[in-house]
């Protein structure tokens, strides 16, 4: 086969599409600019960087502490409900940071839910000064931390499960206490997994838009948004984007590197599963109450707040067209999954049969869609297609093609594609690589064509993996906010956009119902995929 066959062109095209936002952002560098940057530089740029760093560092510290501690408890000890906690703690993935934010404000604000509870318990009094206020920076940090800590929990737990009991026995033979074993043996050997988890947390944290914009905290991401959109200052947007992208790409390399490291740490021979230490009575209090508290804050608290509101303000049951939003969500989830999985399968298959290294390099571009914050991606997307359409209209005798990709379902799906291609492609790749090449060769010997090998051998083998990828894509699409918000067609809402639109109109109580549906669907998907997510293989 030649080097430049159809697979090369398809991969090239896909890599090009996925890299569009980054290319657009950097090409906009030469556009006109206003004097906003001077103003920003003299006053608030430092604040933006400062806020981003404060949020990032605090979120890392909190997610590290919560994630590693809870993973340690459920992996090494047997205490009441420890099996329940080992999967229920990942339910926090079902609550996006912005919805956690709605709950915090609703509960702690003046005359909020906490006030109502206190009034009902102890009678009328001005309790407001007694209720702690978690808003602005503090609110953002808490909301983001509790929605992201499962990354650390899941990866650390998988790594703990792989730790052979031999290590622990060595520790015991050396006369180490439990505490010393943890700090000298268990923690260091899980380091690559922890770093990988923290790198994912950092990336999500830096690109967060929904939470910080709800709390009106200015960060690098909202800075880009404001300078680009409100002040039409592309130059500033680019300069801030540049700082942010460097941050994110560094983290991404760190994550990739740590994952590779993590593989070397997987023992093969002489592996003994961990003997969980049984804790009863007083000794079980600390791990039990720790895990219970985390589960309560991360999941029970926001869900209860949303239920409380939905019950207290039932009027929104009539006002919100829940059936339509369910159908919209299903529609997006279906199209996005089919599209992403289909293309990922083809590219993986192509790179397998053509054995081209170039394909591998090209598909590495797929990370860029994930690295760039969704809100920037969406704006870059409309800018690109607007310019492209103008170019086509000016050079060829055709009408505007803008509506094909701006404000249309096709545009939305394409943007999701850019955003989640990395998830889908790499997810399928990891499983595809496990099919030995000799299986293909045996199939050819039996007279199977390439297509037949693909459909009769590869697909059945990949089935479970494909289901998992579809579930993960669905989860991301349901929770996705900025891209959907900016690119959606007329009269089209998802749970995320409906909730956010209400929240930004100061109608948090109306945001409760769509939020609850969003959480419900996400929870079902997480439960469905939990056995894959929690298996040590992933």
């Amino acid at each position: 086969m030649t080097r430049y066959n159809i697979w090369f062109f398809i991969s090239f095209l896909i890599a090009g599409i996925v890299a569009l936002p980054i290319i657009t952002v950097f090409f906009s560098f030469f556009s006109e600019t206003s004097n906003y940057f001077t103003l920003l530089k003299n006053t608030f740029l430092f604040d933006y960087i400062n806020n981003s760093l404060i949020i990032l560092v605090s979120v890392l510290v909190i997610t590290f502490f919560i994630g590693v501690t809870s993973a340690y408890f459920v992996s090494f000890y047997d205490f009441p409900l420890s099996n329940f906690f080992s999967w229920s703690l990942i339910l926090a993935f079902a609550i996006p940071g912005y919805i956690f934010g709605f709950s915090i404000i609703a509960f702690f604000e003046n005359y909020g839910t906490a006030y109502t509870i206190l009034t009902n318990l102890f009678g009328e009094h001005n309790y407001n000064p007694l209720i702690p206020k978690f808003d602005s920076l503090l609110g953002s940090i808490i909301a983001i931390s509790f929605s992201l800590f499962p990354y650390v929990f899941v990866l650390t737990r998988s790594s703990f499960l792989f730790q052979s009991n031999n290590y622990i026995e060595v520790g015991q033979n050396l006369g180490l206490t439990e505490k010393e074993t943890f700090f000298k043996i268990i923690l260091p050997s899980a380091r690559p997994a922890i770093i990988a988890g923290l790198a994912l947390v950092s990336m999500e944290c830096l690109s967060d838009f929904g939470t910080v914009s709800f709390f009106s905290v200015n960060t690098l991401t909202t800075g880009i948004y404001n300078s680009w959109l409100s002040y039409d200052d592309l130059n500033t947007a680019n300069q801030i984007s540049f700082i942010l992208l460097i941050f994110i790409l560094l983290l991404f390399s760190l994550e990739l590197y740590s994952r590779r490291e993590a593989k070397y740490h997987q023992p093969s021979r002489g592996f003994k599963p961990i003997n969980k230490i049984r804790l009863t009575g007083k000794k079980s209090i600390i791990p039990f109450s720790f895990c219970l508290t985390i589960f309560f804050i991360s999941f029970v608290f926001p869900v209860s707040q949303m239920i409380f509101w939905t019950v207290k303000f039932p009027k929104y049951f009539q006002d919100i067209d829940i059936l339509k939003i369910n159908l919209n969500t299903l529609y997006l989830v279906g199209l996005a999954s089919i599209f992403l999985v289909f293309i990922s399968l083809i590219i993986n298959f192509g790179s397998r049969i053509s054995k081209s290294k170039i394909l591998n390099y090209l598909t590495n571009f797929s990370i860029s869609g994930y690295a760039i914050p969704g809100v920037i991606l969406a704006v870059a997307f409309i800018t690109f297609f607007s310019n492209l359409s103008d170019l086509i209209t000016n050079n060829f005798n055709v009408g505007s093609t803008k509506n094909l990709f701006i404000g249309s379902i096709s545009g939305l799906i394409l943007a999701y594609f850019v955003r989640f291609f990395s998830l889908s492609f790499n997810g399928i790749k990891s499983s595809y690589e496990k099919i030995n090449n000799s299986i293909d060769e045996s199939a050819y010997l039996l007279g199977y064509s390439k297509v037949k090998t693909f459909s009769k051998i590869h697909i059945p083998y990949l089935k479970n993996n494909i289901i998992l990828i579809v579930v993960l894509i669905s989860l991301e699409v349901i929770k996705e906010l900025p891209i959907t918000m900016i690119l959606r067609p007329f009269n089209f809402e998802t749970f995320a956009t409906q909730a956010f639109v209400y929240a930004s109109q100061d109608l948090l109580e109306a945001a409760a119902l769509p939020s609850l549906f969003l959480i419900g669907w996400s929870t079902i998907l997480i439960l469905f995929s939990s056995k894959y997510i929690l298996s040590p293989k992933n």
């Binding site: 159809i6 808003d135 602005s136 249309s408 297509v451």
Partner: protein, 355 residues
């Protein structure tokens, strides 16, 4: 995808290639097919998205048979999309004159029918955009901690007076309502004076700015501050009980005060609609604006959003009437200035350290 097909057309197509191509074409056709188009319609980009607005659009469709398409969002992203999409948007609706003013270059003239001109006072419209409803940005105070003597003759300008030190709450400088208020102060007092005023305001704040307008009013009710600056409809909304019994009770603990009564009057702002350049359904858009200014629509708006009506002859919601209607509105400062002075307003606030 079209490129892929072209490349493969020349050479021999393998079976795989054929299947791949057919499937891709199929996928894209489905995607494109989904974007169906209606003939008699009007497309609204709205940064103001109340459920009551949607009901209003439904009424319009019933009456005129014109389908109303809405996409809502944050003003910045909406504006970017209106420009990028070019030739799709008919009307841009916001809850602030400042945004419409700043977007002027992408709007076109045409809102000049006699129905519009006779309904809307001239300071609340241009040929490109018109006000649909009015709101005032006023002061709220706790009667138990603020005396009538302290309030006498209060102006926006005198909020920077040291006597309010540590007693005032107002939201952040990135809020458009504040930007419009400060823009109107710059128009009336000059940038230099307002820069000094901003510094005084920052000194007087009881806490770093946070939360929305309603949170400012609640802070006064809860005793965190003595006075707050917020729009008029928020108090009525809480008093209506729509926000629950606790907030209804809290709202009764604060009283409204209309500033600048001895001078130009209280700062007024609008919810408004702008006619977008290249609007594909211009005639329908104008029809919709005229409908929004009809007595029926105005009654619907004031009773749901607690704003002031734009046209004469319609009474605001009783709770808004209770706040007082006999105050002097600032009809001298044209709202078009809010957009013109927006950048200056942001600059003086940020320079003063107004978060």
């Amino acid at each position: 995808m079209i490129i892929v097909l072209k490349i493969t057309k020349g050479g021999k197509m393998s079976k795989v290639t054929k299947i791949v191509s057919v499937a891709l074409v199929g996928l894209f056709t489905t995607l494109i097919f989904v974007n169906s188009v209606f003939a008699n319609e009007v497309n609204i980009f709205s940064a103001r998205h109340y459920d009551s607005d949607v009901q209003l659009y439904e009424k319009f469709t019933e009456k005129n048979g014109i389908k109303v398409n809405v996409v809502s969002g944050k003003s910045g992203a909406l504006e970017k999309r209106i420009i990028a999409e070019g030739g799709t948007a008919d009307l841009y609706i916001t809850a602030d004159a400042g945004r419409l003013g700043a977007f002027q270059a992408n709007l076109q003239g045409g809102l000049t029918s006699s129905a519009i001109k006779s309904a809307v006072p001239s300071n609340f419209r241009t040929s490109k955009w018109v006000g649909i409803a009015k709101r005032a940005r006023i002061v709220y105070f706790a009667p138990s901690r603020v005396t009538g003597a302290e309030l006498a003759g209060l102006t926006y300008e005198s909020l920077a007076d040291p006597k309010w030190q540590g007693r005032l709450v107002i939201r952040a400088s990135n809020n458009i309502y504040n930007q419009s208020l400060v823009a109107s102060l710059i128009k009336n007092n000059g940038k230099g004076k307002v820069a000094e005023w901003s510094k005084g305001m920052v000194k007087n704040m009881a806490r770093a700015p946070k939360g929305n307008d309603r949170a400012q009013i609640l802070a006064v009710a809860a005793g965190e501050a003595d006075i707050a600056v917020a729009n008029t409809y928020y108090l009525a909304l809480m008093l209506s009980g729509k926000k629950g019994a606790e907030q209804q009770a809290a709202a009764k603990k604060v009283k409204p005060f209309f500033p600048n009564q001895d001078g130009r009057g209280t700062h007024m702002n609008i919810s408004g609609a702008g006619l977008v350049k290249g609007a594909p359904n211009k005639a329908n858009a104008i029809k919709l604006v005229e409908f929004l200014l009809s007595e029926e629509a105005q009654n619907h708006i004031v009773n749901n959003t607690f704003e002031y009506p734009m046209i004469a002859g319609v009474s605001p919601h009783p709770l808004v009437v209770n706040m007082g209607l006999d105050f002097k509105q600032d009809l001298k400062t044209k709202v078009v200035n809010y957009g013109k002075r927006q950048a200056d307003a942001l600059e003086v606030m940020t320079a003063a350290g107004w978060k």
